[in-house]
Amino acid sequence: MSKTATATYIDFADVRVNKNLVLSITESSKTVDQIKSAEKVSHIIFTILTYAFIIALALIVIFPFYWMIITSLKTYNEITQENQTFFPSVVMWSNYVYVFQHFNFFVYMKNTIIVAIFSTIGTLLTTIFAAFAFSRLQFKGREALFMVFLATMMIPGEMMVISNYITVASFGWITSSTHTQTITEAYAAMIVPFWVSVFHIYLLRQNFKQIPNELYLAAKVDGKSDWSYLWKVMVPLAAPTLISISILKFMGTWNSYVWPNLVTELPQYRLISNGLRESSFQNADLGTIEYGYQMAASILVTVPLFLLFVFFRKYIMKGVGRAGIKG
């Protein structure tokens, strides 16, 4: 190997060679500076194109929100005229007044908040207990049981809806020939089936597992029971995850449409999504939909979620993003 190497390399220390050697680095007749500046230009152009692309798409993404806002402030005639306007010529705040008078926003809001609070509390409790048992306690069949739980995530919820409807009916929570649903029963039917979320158990278990064993050992030395260790150490340490779970649960209730629609008898027992879909805002004389009112109601439904997002952006994006972490 060394023989071939000596044959090919240039000994720069050799004076005889150096005399005749001219080292020139050229690339397609451009100097290094020219290449550098060309690269810089192409980089700038590429960055500009990237920004243009992203900003164009971002505008498309937020455009429906913009359209919702300006439509809610337009008159009916302006909404349906041939030449669409991108800003209301007459700002109609009265659309909102009408909506507050005719759309039972506060009734739906109250129902949604009650259902959200109670289903969140229930979910948090069951999730904390189960995650604690799965992450800290020893018992036979722990891994097997956890696998069964994880497997249930594969089942589409629609499989359950039919039987859950029958189950809830058998609890007497749904209007039947002999029974009329009360508002408490309507709430119960909307809350209790959602007291368990396998995904959240999985999420919290991962979080609990990260808490170092030393804390548990220290608590044991101090004579703490499992119960007080769970509430005084683990729950406070996992607070960010618990906040994420609560917010996602609240958003879920705010968006839930199918189940409340199935299990409630009267419109005033239903949740905000149902209320929005069912309020037709039809013009009594013409039978046409009053889009201005409809959009104003849509805004009322969207704004609370937006406020939630503004205040808890970190928790929401973390909680949602956690779903994609492999393993």
Partner: protein
């Protein structure tokens, strides 16, 4: 280990063994003969050595010894979840499969007329539905629900994943305003889908913005405006629907892909830069393969999600799920299930089982197809 042996010699072993869950290792007392260390009367020297069997490792550190081994306590913590999972997840699964094989299941009384396979045949348009009123064919499942579901799935899933991939790569390559733009792209996630679906139906209205911008105000039937939502065939109504679904599903995908992108080692890109690899090659040879776990995850979850599309249809086309009165032409499989829950519970159950099987098959196909292409 010396400590344990010493404590044993001092006679404390018994106390520790009885102290359940205290966590210190246990030695079987009868196997350790009692010697006082040092020179014995018979001239032998006794040293403190362990006669522990090697097969049984010490387990003095770690949670296993300290964690409560009280089984009943663990089950107490799990009781609420197990009860709820059994009532609202496992029992319904079995019960739905059961109902799908019963004839004329009545959901209020729980009565049925024996077992049959007919439900699947009826909803799949293979045999007529016999009732007291005579024979009838159940058509909305095969002619509307199944094709619509498949169109929605195979249009929206690839389009939204592809778009999300491009957007997240672009987002990842910029520095200024990255967080802000990321938040903007996340906005559709935090909305009420019913409310935004209504906005889409306003945008695609006869006198809506889409017709105005694209000059379609006289492109519809009889020289009227283009009809996207009312009195229009399914193929046209699919356009606003698919656009809405893509719009609605992109934020989640961007979030997942972006967090995946940020986890990719920069050295791959530096190596590509040294080799002067063109950008599209870097995208195809480095970015996509390294993102393959996230892409697989998104493929599986969004396939499942698209198969279950329901809310988006209700929000754009209303509760009846049709563009033409009485046609049920925007039905999806899930729409069919919900529509038949109380009237034809057996059919609804059969359709739900059908959906379950489709989802299982597709998930397994994706796992199988990806087993060689996903790099963990």
């Amino acid at each position: 280990m010396g400590i344990e042996l010493l404590s044993f010699l001092k006679g404390k072993k018994k106390k520790q063994a009885s102290n359940k869950g205290s966590g210190l290792m246990t030695l079987e007392p009868e196997k350790v003969p009692v010697y006082t260390p040092g020179l014995q009367a018979d001239g032998t020297v006794v040293r403190l050595v362990s006669n522990r069997k090697i097969k049984k490792p010490y387990r003095v550190s770690g949670i296993d010894d300290v964690a409560s081994k009280n089984n009943w306590k663990a089950w107490l913590y799990l009781a609420p979840v197990i009860i709820l999972v059994t009532i609202f997840l496992l029992y319904p699964l079995i019960n739905t499969i059961f109902i799908s094989f019963t004839k004329n299941y009545n959901y209020t009384t729980g009565k049925y007329d024996g077992f049959t396979l007919e439900n699947f045949g009826i909803i799949l348009h293979m045999i007529p539905y016999k009732s007291s009123a005579g024979e009838a064919w159940e058509t909305s499942f095969t002619s509307n629900a199944i094709p619509n579901t498949f169109i929605i799935t195979f249009v929206t899933v690839p389009v939204s994943i592809f778009l999300a991939l491009i957007i997240s790569v672009a987002l990842n390559s910029i520095k200024a305003f990255q967080r802000f733009l990321q938040t903007v792209f996340f906005l559709p996630y935090v909305t009420n889908s019913i409310a935004i679906g209504m906005v889409f139906s306003v945008l695609f209205d006869d006198a809506g913005l889409i017709n105005y911008i694209f000059g379609l105000q006289h492109a519809g039937p009889n020289g009227g405006p283009m009809q996207w939502i009312y009195n229009t065939p399914t193929a046209i109504a699919m356009i606003p629907l698919c656009l809405f679904i893509v719009w609605n599903s992109i934020p989640f995908k961007i979030l997942i892909l972006l967090s995946g992108l940020q986890g990719i080692d920069k050295q791959y890109y530096q190596a590509a830069q040294i080799d002067a690899a063109p950008k599209w090659k870097v995208f195809g040879r480095i970015t996509v393969p390294l993102l393959s776990p996230q892409i697989l995850y998104l493929m599986i979850t969004s396939f499942i999600g698209a198969f279950k599309e329901y809310n988006s249809i209700v929000s754009i086309f209303g509760k009846k799920g049709e563009t033409m009165a009485g046609q049920k032409n925007m039905y999806t499989i899930v729409f069919y299930v919900y529509d038949n829950i109380s009237a034809n519970t057996s059919f609804a159950a059969a359709a739900a089982v059908f959906l379950f099987i489709i989802i299982l098959v597709f998930t397994f196909i994706q796992f199988w197809a990806s087993s060689k292409r996903v790099h963990y």
